[in-house]
Amino acid sequence: MIITSENFIKHLKKGREEALDYILEKYAGTVKAVIHNTLKDYNDSQIIEESISDTFFGAYENAKQFKGNEEDFKKWICTIAKFKAIDKQRKLYKMPVAHEVEDYIDTVKSAEDEYLIKTSSEELQEMMCKLEQIDRDIFTMKYFLNMKNEEIAAQLGLTKVSIDNRLYRGKKRLQKIYLGGILT
């Protein structure tokens, strides 16, 4: 069997090792670059390599969740890479997540923000189930992919202000749900 750019997605979904070889060969460099951009401050090649493994492992295990063509696949695996890099950062938590250093309404990180950054990806995900899909998307981009509010706005075709507001309200909602849960 020969894996080509036309059939690798199909074979990857079937869990074929050859397809894994193919995506490693084709995307390892790009995935590494995405991860390196996020984790370069650690200056630790092992951390980067682990994140690359986590990325390809995630893509291989969850290939069935992917829909689209070769080009979409590249975006998908890069998004996973970004997520894995930030996930790694959360786990290491040696230094604050470098996020939002520009003119955003919260120039000083709020307590909720601190909390959301420190919480593990798994906990966060569970919490986010309570949000509507659009807010879930915004939260995912913000906290799992460390995207700037402007970038999120551009991605979703909304204004930055509406992203700011949605994040603000979403955080309050989560706080209410979770603090409420603790108090009652």
């Binding site: 493994s53 390809f56 291989y60 969740q65 975006k75 998908w76 890069c78």
Partner: protein, 361 residues
């Protein structure tokens, strides 16, 4: 987590980065890590699936069943064909099976399902392949069995066997045995038996594509279970423990469930390299009868999964009514990998250990 991957798919985010250099060594390390992670995960989750070493599962093709009369003028019942050998395990199948008699033709190959039987342990389907084409020595349908009642077994708990006999120049009889190992064993199964390829398991690479599909319903035969686990019936040798855990008697066959525990390093006398261990069994009774069987090997044992239990299963014909005990003699095979594709070879001569003796009441 799954949800997240789906979500990422929807995001459609562009990444504008210059690929970085990844060395071959790095890629190799990454790949190894992924495959290792995958195997581990599946071992816990998937009962029979990925984790086995290559020979542990899969197709058993016509071994132990000597050829019968070369030309038969008329085929009555396929099970009969496999009974030419006195020790055949299919003696009573004929009496209990349901006649199916459905023929499907595709790409110049005619497949007729003649009979089928289900006894909660196995689904056995007999069929005949006819074609003017050269199909090789032991062709069989690369088939799949599905039934809405068998959701779990569908995915994890089964083993398939094909036993093939050439009956004339272009006619072959096949017994397809689908062993239900884990999961539900319903009263009734609505079976879809289908295949998209006829493939020669006799060594040539001949295959014919097509589309053969059969639907029929089978009701379970009565069966009786004997729990042996509490009776501590076992055999032990250095690094090996094999227990008999269950015996099931149905009108057509007897199935013995075993549980093997192996310290592969100790048995293989090897500290570093990969080794696999597998048992071959010989089944006899106290009257001197030898029984042929269909075996599912379970997970097998290898240095990838140290000290894991493997639960093989042997299906034999019904035990002789006069017999008072069954003797199961394990012979130990130690394997090493001889090629990158996972081809295995015996490291040293197989040796037998003390048998397991199951009293029959």
């Amino acid at each position: 987590m799954k949800k997240l991957y789906k979500q990422f798919n929807r995001f459609n985010i562009e990444f504008d980065v210059e690929p970085m250099e990844v060395s071959e060594l790095e890629k190799e390390r990454i790949k190894r890590k992924i495959l290792k992670g995958k195997r581990k995960k599946h071992y816990v989750r998937n009962f029979v699936a990925a984790a086995t070493f290559i020979i542990a599962l899969g197709f058993t093709v016509g071994t132990g069943f000597p050829a019968f009369a070369e030309k038969l003028p008329f085929i009555g019942n396929v099970f009969e064909l496999f009974n030419a050998d006195k020790v055949s395990m299919f003696e009573r199948f004929d009496d209990y099976s349901s006649a199916i008699g459905i023929t499907e033709e595709s790409n110049g190959v005619e497949v007729t399902v003649t009979d089928a039987v289900y006894d909660r342990e196995n689904i056995t389907i007999a069929y005949i392949i006819k074609s003017e084409k050269n199909l090789g020595e032991k062709p069989a349908l690369s088939s799949n069995v599905t039934a809405k009642e068998l959701k779990f077994a569908d995915k994890y708990g089964y083993t398939k066997h094909d036993i093939v006999e050439k009956i004339s120049e272009n006619e072959y009889a096949v017994l397809f045995i689908y062993e239900l190992i884990k999961g539900t064993k319903p009263e009734e199964v609505h079976i879809t038996f289908e295949g998209d390829e006829i493939h020669d398991f006799g060594g040539t690479n001949i295959s014919v594509e097509g589309n053969w599909s059969f639907n029929f319903k089978l009701s379970a035969l009565e069966s009786e279970n004997v729990d042996l686990a509490k009776e501590d019936i076992k055999t032990e040798a250095e690094g090996i423990e094999i227990n008999a855990i269950e015996l099931t008697e149905t009108p057509i066959s007897t199935t013995i469930y075993l549980s093997e525990k192996v310290d592969v390093r100790l048995v293989a006398k090897e500290e570093e390299k990969w080794r696999g261990v597998r048992f071959d069994y010989i089944v006899t009774d106290n009257l001197g009868n030898t029984y042929n069987f269909v075996q599912s090997h379970g997970l097998g044992h290898s240095t990838d999964f140290e000290r894991m239990r493997s639960e093989p299963r042997l299906t034999i014909k019904n035990i002789d009514e006069e017999a008072t005990s069954l003797t199961i003699t394990p012979s130990v095979n130690v394997y090493e990998k001889v090629s990158g594709e996972g081809e295995l070879a015996n490291v040293f001569e197989p040796y037998s250990i003390e048998p397991i003796i199951i009293p029959i009441k």
